[in-house]
């Protein structure tokens, strides 16, 4: 799927619907309150909000790692095996396994032998530019390269949805820009839906077509912003007026979100 094949925002077939989700931890900490979100196929959604507003909690709910206290999450057509890929803030690789074995993991846990999926692993690694490092151990790679391996592992099963929780937050600015660009090209070539958690207004504007702004205590959605600039986006987009306008709009929403909480 490419950008031109994608329907306009809001007219895409629905992939996942979160309806009136509430999540309370230990009976007291209200991490999320009345959160509703319709995720549509091909969306690149950024969840933007202050620390503690429940962004990670929302992703963990979608990944079915925790259960909502209220509300429901429904996948259109049900959730199949390998429909979900996840990238965490840390690369989260198994240090004892070679790069290729780390990428093999999602298949391996389904009982698929390496040889039966070797071509998919090779392809995922070359998509992130690491085909020459498949026999390396994680410790031999730089922080950015480890993150690429993590991304390759998330997309190797061709999931319908990829969840990313501040994946580039620990990287330096230059590496982060590079990975942002590469992430967009990647998505153009495999056409998956992404929910991306970030603290950075600029990152969210550059990457996403929908920015969902959240506020804390209790965690909730306070607004949504669309970025209409067409994909593929290049470095030129970073210096465009449209980018600046969206960034200031998102910043303003974020400031309001912080005031709400205070």
């Amino acid at each position: 799927m490419t950008s031109s094949a994608r329907e306009p925002l809001g007219q895409r077939p629905e992939l996942l619907r979160m309806s009136r989700i509430g999540k309370t931890f230990g009976g007291q900490v209200v991490a999320l309150n009345d959160l509703s979100l319709s995720v549509q196929q091909g969306d690149f959604i950024s969840l933007l909000g202050p620390s503690g507003c429940g962004k990670s909690t929302a992703l963990r709910l979608i990944a079915n790692l925790i259960q909502p206290t209220a509300g429901s999450i429904e996948w259109q057509g049900g959730q199949g095996e390998g429909d979900l890929g996840v990238v965490f803030q840390e690369p989260t690789l198994m240090p004892w396994a070679r790069v290729k074995d780390n990428v093999w993991l999602p298949f391996r846990l389904r009982g698929q032998s390496y040889s039966s999926v070797a071509d998919k692993i090779e392809r995922a690694l070359s998509l992130v530019g690491l085909q020459d490092f498949k026999d390396a151990f994680p410790r031999e790679l730089s922080g950015g390269m480890k993150m690429r391996v993590s991304i390759a592992r998330a997309l190797v099963t061709r999931p319908r949805l990829i969840l990313m929780d501040e994946p580039f937050a620990a990287l330096d600015e230059i590496t982060r820009h590079k990975l942002n660009n590469d992430l967009l090209s990647l998505r153009e070539s495999i056409g998956c839906t992404v929910i991306f958690v970030t603290h950075s207004v600029f990152e969210s504007v550059f990457l996403s077509d929908r920015i969902v702004v959240m506020a804390a205590s209790p965690g909730r959605v306070v607004g949504e912003l669309t970025v209409d600039a067409p994909y593929p986006r290049s470095d030129a987009f970073r210096t465009s007026a449209e980018y600046a306008a969206s960034a200031s709009e998102a910043s303003a929403m974020l400031v309001r979100a912080m005031e709400h909480a205070a």
């Binding site: 198994m94 993991l105 846990l109 998509l127 530019g129 690491l130 151990f137 090209s185 070539s189």
Partner: protein, 325 residues
């Protein structure tokens, strides 16, 4: 329309990012690399100032070479001095050998009594390694049981601790009474001492797997067995090997204690009972010879465990990593 990243582009970017990173002073350093990287940078700048001759680097290399020689040379020198003065003292002061045998006499005993010492060494080694083997099996099984079932841990952990803190010297006589075979009693004794570090370390290791990786395994629907084999097991390996190093030494101590307490009852064949017997007979040459062999065995066990640990970890674990600096 856009195209996916081609392999050439991909690797080009990578090479660049690898070159870029260390040069950017603002870049977040990779944890653990900070010292090394900054030091390298400074030293390479210095090098350029001194006509491309890397003085700093050369100084460091020389330093490293000296240290690696000293590591062997200094202890050897100390040994020669100590043994030399021992010999001199015994010879000059004419100390009788049944009070303090000279090093030469001990060496002679080692050779002359080899027929007694060698079987004793084998017996002690057999006891030690069997105890260690059972400690590994028992420690691992119990650790896995503890981490698979909260109830098992709640029920049994206190007893594991009690077994560990009760001095083995105090248990040994009981074992001798209730267990018919002296060998089995001795084995139990050594096992008791050796198994706890393996149990405790492996239990912590199995619990220490990265929680994000655990989540990932859950997301991909991993079974318990898959999680144990592919995630918690490998995470526990460095901890287990740490426990193994301790347990190896303790197994020998347990074996020696067992021979002291139990071995006396007629089946005494090992080094420790040989040592004890020699002391009753004022055969101090043989006593020292047996003592030296026990020490050497301890060193050999430690070396072996360290080697095993290195071979299993050197590819990936920080503890086995050699960093330049």
């Amino acid at each position: 329309m856009s195209s996916p990243i081609t392999p050439e582009q991909g690797s080009g970017q990578l090479t660049q990012s690898r070159i870029d990173q260390p040069v950017d002073p603002l870049a977040d350093p990779v944890p653990g690399h900070i010292g090394g990287q900054m030091y390298d940078q400074i030293s390479s700048q210095d090098a350029e100032k001194t006509n491309g001759l890397d003085v700093e680097e050369e100084r460091r290399a020389r330093q490293a070479r000296i240290v690696s020689i000293a590591r062997w040379a200094l202890p050897s020198l100390l040994l020669v001095i100590l043994v030399g003065s021992w010999q001199a003292y015994v010879t000059l002061a004419e100390v009788p050998h049944y009070i303090l045998p000279s090093p030469v006499r001990i060496a002679q005993t080692l050779v002359q009594d080899w027929g007694i010492l060698w079987p004793a060494l084998l017996a002690t080694a057999r006891l030690t390694f069997l105890a260690l083997l059972f400690a590994i099996i028992g420690g691992l099984l119990l650790a896995v049981a503890f981490t698979q079932s909260k109830w098992a841990e709640l029920a049994m952990f206190p007893y594991a601790v009690i077994l560990q803190v009760t001095p083995v010297v105090a248990i040994a006589p009981l074992l001798q009474i209730y267990v018919d075979s002296a060998f089995v009693a001795a084995l139990l004794c050594a096992w008791l001492v050796a198994f706890f570090p393996i149990l405790a370390n492996t239990t912590i290791g199995l619990k220490s797997a990265d929680h994000n990786l655990r989540d990932l395994f859950r997301i991909y629907g991993a079974s318990r067995w898959q999680t144990l084999r592919l995630l918690t097991g490998p995470s526990a390996l460095p901890f287990f090997l740490g426990g193994l190093k301790i347990a190896g030494g303790l197994a020998l101590i347990g074996a020696v204690v067992a021979e002291f307490v139990i071995g006396r009852a007629g089946t005494g064949l090992g080094l420790a009972s040989t040592l004890l017997e020699a002391s009753y007979r004022f055969n101090f040459g043989r006593l020292y010879a047996a003592l030296i062999l026990i020490s050497l065995m301890g060193v050999a066990i430690f070396g072996l465990m360290s080697l095993i640990s290195y071979l299993l970890l050197f590819r990936w674990h920080e503890s086995a990593l050699k960093r330049e600096s």
